[in-house]
């Protein structure tokens, strides 16, 4: 591991100042992804600015009836929080579907959003990868891409975003509170993460020095009827092959409103806006759910070894919608 200085920021302002002063610095949250990437030589910061005590760990109800989650809240505390479990069960399920108990105890909410893809080429600096070495090429298109993207990818990158939590947050329409050199702002989800285009080295719309300080959930009463379903290659402690997060507002057999996001399919947590629109006002039947899923997935451009994800994500989405409707 390359030598680095360790600095502990006392508050968000000094954390942002530390990064703007030191271009080769990075923020350190729980370290569950960054420390590993440093060991692999993929991340080589000259300075780590520890922000686990600079940002809040609190999870509290916000004035608008939503929930304000401090960026330093640990994943396990988020999943165990009574308000999350009762009002946003798909978020609790998504967090619990990720990693292992030990890692959830370490990982922060802010860090979870900023974790990097687990594409094997990205994590191996001996191999070309446009994400870790821009311009070096993407061997995944011709190589190992079974777990990679089927939608929204580009010729330069087919990576997927690995977070389960982010899929539920994209479905809920969370807002991410950011403090940067220019001041504070909020970034909506989806919208924090970006498609790879010809700049796959940029995972998000954040600028250098930007610090996530909190994530705010909207009051979405019907999210109490929501579910996260993850398909993976083994029963536990594995990244998603595909996943779906669904909240459904249905009455008298008709969909009044819904929120749908897909994981394991794109460089971003994929909000299924086409399927949502198709379902608003439609009968809550398996036929309509299938039609909506097909509409969303019509834009999929799978690669030879991950074409199975298209019917898989369709079937999982139809199943979860049907379960929530009955």
């Amino acid at each position: 591991m390359k030598p680095f200085d360790y600095q502990r920021a006392a508050d968000t302002r000094s954390a942002v100042a530390a990064l703007s002063r030191q271009p080769e610095a990075m923020y350190l949250g729980g370290g569950t992804n960054l420390v590993d990437l440093m060991r692999l030589g993929v991340a080589t910061p000259a300075v780590l600015v520890d922000v686990t005590r600079a940002t809040s760990e609190a999870i509290e109800e916000s004035s608008g009836g939503g929930l304000l989650i401090g960026a330093a809240a640990r994943n396990s505390d988020l999943a165990a929080h009574p308000v999350v479990r009762h009002r946003y069960p798909m978020l609790a399920q998504a967090v619990l579907a990720g990693a292992s108990g030990q890692i959830r105890n370490m990982a922060t909410v802010g860090g979870n959003l900023l974790q990097r893809t687990r594409c094997s080429y990205f994590q191996d600096i001996a191999k070309p990868c446009n994400k870790h070495r821009p311009g070096s090429g993407c061997p995944a298109r011709e190589g190992d891409h079974r777990n990679l993207a089927i939608i929204g990818h580009s010729s330069s990158c087919v990576a997927t975003h690995p977070s389960d939590m982010a899929v539920a947050l994209a479905a809920l329409g969370a807002s991410v509170h950011v403090e940067g050199v220019e001041g504070t702002r909020t970034v909506p989800m989806p919208g924090l993460h970006r498609l790879p285009g010809d700049e796959p080295e940029r995972d998000t719309v954040l600028e250098p020095g930007d610090l996530i300080t909190a994530v705010e959930l909207p009051a979405l009463p019907y999210a109490s009827r929501s579910r996260y379903r993850k398909v993976r290659d083994r029963a536990s402690f594995a990244f998603a092959v595909v996943s779906v997060a669904v909240a459904l507002d249905e009455a008298d057999g008709v969909v009044r409103d819904c929120r749908i996001a897909l994981g394991g399919v794109a460089h971003v947590p994929w909000r299924a806006t086409l399927a949502e629109s198709a379902l608003r006002g439609a009968p809550a039947t398996a036929e309509e759910f299938t039609r909506a899923a097909d509409l969303e997935l019509a834009g999929a451009r799978p690669l030879p070894d991950n074409a199975f994800k298209v019917p898989l994500v369709r079937n999982v989405l139809v199943r979860v919608l049907s379960e929530l409707a009955s």
């Binding site: 420390v35 686990t52 165990a80 479990r85 619990l96 579907a97 108990g101």
Partner: protein, 166 residues
């Protein structure tokens, strides 16, 4: 290099550490606390599991410099003098290991896991995340999925933990 004081198993250890050093390396290489094991060194196998402020974490992904006011418990700190921790006794009674390399991590993980369940934390296999979890075999297996055992002693590990959970 950073001067710091580590609190481990109730004792204070003054150490001078490299910022790159993980808790696992500090324990094993500087402090002769070799209970925590290095398996994968990538956070995937769980052999290095210890407790920080009572919570189970992977010491191979924890930078030691971040821990100056934390209370660390390793497998060496689980027993009460000569009396083994109930989980240690149950692992022996149920023959819950073969080579033993993963056992310190399994034990520390199980201590943390039982505290999480006692606090009412759900898991991904908890049917209703709003309900109090019941630690049946499926729950124990899911909650212990961060600890691998290459000997495949899982059946007996689950039985040992299940006995202490009851």
């Amino acid at each position: 290099m950073t001067d710091m004081l580590l609190s481990i198993n109730g004792d204070e250890y003054p150490v001078v550490v490299d910022t790159r050093e993980t808790l696992l390396d500090t324990l094993r290489e500087r402090l002769d606390l070799t209970g925590a094991k290095k398996g994968c060194d990538h956070g995937q196998c769980g052999a290095c599991t210890v407790l920080v402020d009572g919570r189970r974490v992977k010491s191979c992904l924890t930078l030691t410099v971040t821990l100056d006011d934390r209370e660390i418990t390793t497998v060496e700190g689980l027993a009460d003098g000569d009396r083994p921790h109930p989980l240690q006794a149950a692992f022996i009674a149920h023959d819950a290991f073969q080579c033993g390399y993963c056992t310190p991590g399994q034990l520390c993980s199980a201590v943390g896991m039982l505290a999480e369940a006692a606090a009412g934390w759900p898991s991904v296999v908890t049917e209703d995340v709003c309900a109090e979890p019941v630690l049946d075999e499926e729950e124990i297996r899911e909650r212990m999925s961060g600890n691998l055992c290459r000997c495949g002693a899982y059946v007996n590990i689950v039985a040992a933990i299940g006995e202490v959970a009851r």
